[in-house]
């Protein structure tokens, strides 16, 4: 995009782990910036970025216990916007993928684009990417639906149990205050289990997943029955994965219109590729 202002912003993601998941282009954006803002949850990752660019400043000081995240995100945006408007080439680095479950990254891009600045986002490795790798789940195998837990609970979503379900942030599910102060309560989790029980038997296996954030440890992969979920110890990074009930039936009306049959499809699916 052609910009008409001097300052610029690139938003990058640092991955879920400490520093090993930063892409080469991300590292180069950090090196080439006038100033770097980082909002990542570990000091070694921050130290790694500081080695790439000494003019690195944290945004995590804006987090305060009990402070609404809406305000925290606004404060982060203000800090980044001020630097861009001062004419600086700014790089903002967020944890994971900068566009996934990150509010201020989208907001600053939107505001600065409206004001005529050059802005862009580079993709990063998200928790979902780690989940796919750790659990060996291909989102394309059954299709996949992905929700934030509280939003799923509060809204009238339609869940398709034939698809793999990924439900994020189950630890604080039902906490409408945006402060996580109600996260210790289990009422929301019980309501979530109740909502899911409309689609699955109580003994349907579900997985509590936590991507490893440090190479010292392994990712958490705990399989339990749906009905047991309320008694499981959760953490702020717990994600619920619900395996599919299996593929749905064929849509014979559509197949007929295309002149093919279910058997034709099964035949092609059964052709094995040789392994060299």
């Amino acid at each position: 995009m052609q910009s008409n202002q001097h300052g610029s912003l690139v938003v990058v993601g640092t991955g879920i782990s400490v520093a090993g998941q930063m892409t080469l282009i991300t590292q180069n954006h950090v090196r080439q910036a006038d100033i770097v803002y980082v909002a990542i949850p570990n000091k070694p990752g921050e130290a790694f970025i500081k080695q790439l660019n000494p003019n690195t400043h944290t945004l995590t000081d804006l987090y305060e216990l009990g402070k609404s995240r809406v305000q925290t995100y606004q404060d982060m945006c203000d800090r980044i916007i001020n630097s861009v408007e001062a004419g600086q080439k700014v790089c903002a680095a967020f944890y994971g993928h900068p566009g996934v479950f990150v509010n201020p990254s989208h907001r600053v891009i939107e505001v600065l684009k409206e004001r005529g600045f050059s802005v862009m986002m580079e993709p990063g490795i998200s928790a979902e990417d780690c989940l796919v790798a750790d659990l060996g789940i291909d989102p394309a195998a059954f299709g996949c639906q992905s929700y934030e837990a509280t939003q799923f609970l509060f809204r009238r979503y339609t869940l398709d149990p034939h698809m793999t379900q990924i439900i994020w942030q189950i630890w604080g599910v039902g906490d409408h205050t945006l402060t996580s102060t109600l996260a210790h309560e289990k009422r929301g989790l019980a309501a979530l289990v109740s909502a899911l029980s409309k689609y699955y038997p109580e003994d349907h296996p579900v997985i509590v997943y936590e991507a490893r954030t440090s190479p010292l440890f392994t990712s958490r992969i705990d399989e339990v029955k749906l009905a047991e979920l309320t008694s499981v110890q959760l953490s702020p990074i717990s994600t619920l994965v619900i395996p599919s009930l299996g593929l749905p039936d064929f849509d014979h009306e559509t197949l007929d219109s295309l002149g093919i049959t279910a058997e034709d499809i099964q035949h092609h699916l059964s052709i094995k590729q040789p392994v060299n």
């Binding site: 520093a19 090993g20 070694p44 921050e46 130290a47 990150v102 509010n103 934030e148 010292l216 702020p236």
Partner: protein, 70 residues
Amino acid sequence: MTDKLVDFVNALDQDPALQAQYKEDPRGTAESFGVSDEDLSLLFGGNTEALQQRLDMAGLSSIVWVQHAK
């Protein structure tokens, strides 16, 4: 002064060979890297509370990252 535990975590996060070595022999790998006896005891001693405190002090703990529901 650098924190050898932090250096070890950073190296481990970026080096597949070191990861393979750590998987095979966690304590020996950390020891060879130069992680202190005190930190080795915390990492492998089973006192999760003390380990958590150490990781917090080293900035290796996680912040809660959540996007609000709409």
